[in-house]
């Protein structure tokens, strides 16, 4: 009866969207570094930790406000307790374990073994409870029982919780963990040296009345102070034999120090690139809008220069490490991930619909560009994809892959050539407006509510005073471009005014559109 009840409840929880979404929410909030709001919880927790420590320090010599003491002792402890329980909850899914066991047993035709499922639950939860992080979390709650004076010192364990919230600490720990074997060897070597030198110095010095080393603890203290090259000088050997031991320990100490330093440095050097990449990926998930450049070759290189000069965010993906290094050298955020693989976007946590302004497939290879476009389209049907076309015979394939705009350099050159030989002056004018290097620019000025409040018609804009030509208006409602519209043409919010002029004058004209207040 109870067994059926538990299994049914587990199935209900597993299939409950509300329960799962709540659990996911708390998981993201506490454990998912890529979750936007996690940092606020981390900051809150770090602040609480510092308040606790500040109260502890103040309390040593001065009286502390009762409310503050209450807050530090009870409120913070309760918050940490809630956090501990939530972490224990989201660390694993009890209902999932039970459901899996039930399905496993049903599949094999056995009766459901709830005891086995509960044993697994117990093991999983205990494994979490005895993990270093969970123990620190638990110890941080102990100051709640502040009547026991000893437990107050556990406030300091709250400081260890900082490791949980500061990602860089975890990274550092991770880096050092890669040299685990070397550190264990070093630890063993140091322990043996300390043990042998402690015993030696004790044997040499303990029977000498003039020596400050009288106990084995004194000898151990002296050994550690000496081997660490700190050398306070409060305990020193007085016999020749003792001094000889000291010389050996000092030499060993230098070796230990050098070995430790080189270990840390080499671990950091080995992992530096990885750390940077992890950091970049973290920042990537927080980035608002960016252009995704797939493939870093000549056109991409040139385009990135132009986009970067307009302060656009750019992310470069390429499967070739040489090209990625070239992009990095050019100061871009470049990641060695294949743009044609779904796993790349998943691992990088890129939300194409929310974060990507446009995907640019810029490999000089139609096959690769089709592959990338199809991968992106499998995620998102709406995002704007632009691609290079290297061979006209592949045009239909690229269009079929869902690419919105194709740029075929050969055709471009032919069209430009045709126009150049036909109307060279006109060509130069238009080319100068398109080029990033020209003085005269063409720009699109959005008609906002503010602009609409100030101006109702084209005739009211007063562009001539700013030496700006209004080439036309793009009407948003009809999706049409009105060339050289009449003075009486109404402008609406959402329209775009296409202006030509010197960059500085266009800027002033735009400012005028935004700020002019109409006379009453």
């Amino acid at each position: 009866m109870i067994k059926r009840l538990i299994v049914n409840a587990s199935y209900a929880l597993q299939t409950s969207k509300r329960y799962q979404s709540n659990k996911r929410f708390f998981y993201n909030l506490l454990e998912n570094d890529k979750y936007r709001y996690k940092k606020y919880i981390d900051i809150l927790m770090i602040t609480l930790i510092f308040i606790s420590v500040a109260v502890l320090i103040r309390e040593v010599k001065y009286p502390v406000n009762d409310y503050l003491l209450f807050f530090s002792t009870y409120i913070i402890s309760i918050i940490f307790f809630i956090e501990y329980v939530l972490r224990l909850w989201v660390s694993s899914s009890v209902s999932e374990i039970i459901v899996k066991r039930a399905e496993h047993d049903s599949f094999l035709g056995h009766s459901i073994s709830l005891s086995k499922a509960l044993l697994t639950v117990f093991r999983v939860k205990v494994a979490y409870i005895v993990s270093v992080r969970a123990i620190i979390d638990l110890l941080a709650i102990l100051p709640f029982f502040h009547e026991l004076r000893l437990l107050r010192i556990f406030i300091l364990f709250r400081v260890f919780k900082l490791f949980r919230y500061a990602r860089s600490f975890q990274t550092l720990a991770g880096v050092l963990a890669t040299k685990k074997f070397e550190f264990i060897t070093l630890g063993l070597f140091s322990s043996i040296v300390i043990f042998v030198s402690s015993v030696l110095i004790y044997v040499m010095e303990a029977n000498n009345d003039a020596s400050p080393i009288n106990t084995l603890f004194d000898a151990l203290y002296w050994s550690i102070v000496t081997i660490s090259t700190v050398g306070y000088g409060d305990v020193t050997p007085v016999t020749d034999a003792g001094r000889f031991v000291a010389m050996l320990v000092i030499t060993a100490g230098i070796a230990v120090l050098a070995f430790t330093t080189s270990l840390v440095v080499s671990a950091l050097t080995d992992k530096l690139e990885e750390i940077r990449e992890v950091k970049t990926i973290e920042n990537l998930s927080k980035m608002q809008e960016f252009y995704l450049i797939c493939g870093y070759e000549s056109v991409a290189k040139e385009l990135c220069k132009k986009l970067a000069s307009s302060s656009h965010n750019i992310i470069v993906l390429d499967e070739d490490i040489t090209r990625i290094n070239m992009a990095k050298k050019d100061g871009l955020t470049a990641l060695h991930y294949s743009p044609g693989k779904i796993s790349s976007y998943k691992n990088l946590g890129i939300d194409i619909s929310k974060q990507v302004k446009a995907v640019l497939c810029l490999r000089a290879n139609d096959v690769e560009n089709v592959y990338t476009a199809l991968t992106v389209r499998s995620f998102d049907k709406e995002v704007f994809i632009l691609s290079l076309l290297m061979n006209d015979s592949n045009r239909k394939k690229l269009e079929f892959a869902g690419i919105n705009h194709l740029v075929y350099p050969q055709e471009l050159v032919a069209m430009i050539t045709k126009e150049f030989i036909g109307k060279p002056v006109a060509f130069e004018v238009v080319h100068a407006m398109r080029s990033a290097n020209g003085n005269v620019k063409i720009d699109e000025l959005a008609v906002t509510t503010r602009v609409r409040e100030n101006f109702k018609t084209i005739g009211e804009l007063g562009n001539s005073a700013y030496r700006v030509i209004v080439l036309g208006v793009y009407k948003n409602d009809t999706d049409k471009f009105l060339f050289n519209p009449d003075k009486d043409t109404a402008i609406e919010v959402g329209d775009y005014i296409i202006a030509i002029g010197y960059e500085v004058f266009i800027g002033e004209f735009e400012h005028h559109l935004q700020t002019k207040v109409r006379d009453a």
Partner: protein, 231 residues
């Protein structure tokens, strides 16, 4: 001066695209290939060339002053060599060349090309425009490549033009409905934006060229009204 013969050096995607686009504009288009196997092309008139200094076969069959050469070899170094070779032999030949980047574009200009199209830079410019200014990019493209009725035209000022001897500042372009005057190219071949302070007090003279945008009919009307000719 109108050219009658186009000489396209480079049997490749660029060369073939150019042939397709300009065939109608020239009485004769000749495609030159470094590979003799391409000479059997049935659609295009293909001739063999190498990078030696012997251009006599071209000189004997084509009037150089009426010709324009397109150097579109895919290897930049070879293209530069071809350009310098043509320029050294034919002083009056108009040469249009492609370059993969700006560095080589400068070298081609030094080698004597009249116009250089940096392919990568141009493609990047166009992509940046499509991304940043999608509407104006479409408008400019449709004007430049004449994809609809909107056209860009060059109007030459001559003796009979009513605008001749008038100061630019004194002209109210609004009088000429339907067209927009973008720039002016004076006799010294300097192209200036119509609102540039450099040409504000410029007095229109014979030979000056106005670059205007408008619908075909409005451009024709403008031309008739000022008594000028379209070039």
């Amino acid at each position: 001066m109108h050219k009658t013969t186009a000489l396209i050096f480079g049997y490749n995607k660029y060369g073939l695209e150019i042939v397709q686009n300009i065939r109608e504009k020239y009485e004769r288009t000749r495609l030159y290939s470094q590979d003799e196997s391409n000479l059997s092309d049935e659609i295009n008139e293909v001739e063999y060339f190498d990078l030696s200094d012997d251009w006599s076969s071209i000189e004997n069959t084509v009037k150089i002053s009426d010709s324009i050469a397109f150097c579109v070899l895919e290897d930049d170094a070879q293209n530069i060599f071809l350009t310098i070779s043509l320029r050294a032999y034919f002083k009056d030949l108009s040469i249009v060349a492609i370059a993969s980047n700006l560095e080589n574009a400068n070298k081609l200009t030094m080698a004597g090309a009249n116009k250089v199209i940096p392919v990568v830079e141009t493609a990047a410019d166009i992509i940046a425009n499509i991304l940043e200014l999608p509407i104006s990019s479409k408008v400019l493209e449709s004007i430049l490549f004449e994809e609809n009725d909107l056209k860009i035209a060059q109007i030459k000022i001559d003796e009979d033009t009513i605008l001749k001897d008038r100061e630019l500042l004194s002209i109210d372009w609004n009088e000429y409905r339907g067209i927009i005057v973008l720039s002016l190219m004076d006799k010294d071949m300097k192209n200036e934006f119509i609102y540039s302070s450099k040409v504000k007090h410029h007095v229109l003279k014979c030979g000056d060229i106005l670059v205007v945008v408008g619908y075909e009919k409005d451009i024709e009307d403008f031309k008739e009204l000022i008594g000028s000719e379209r070039i």
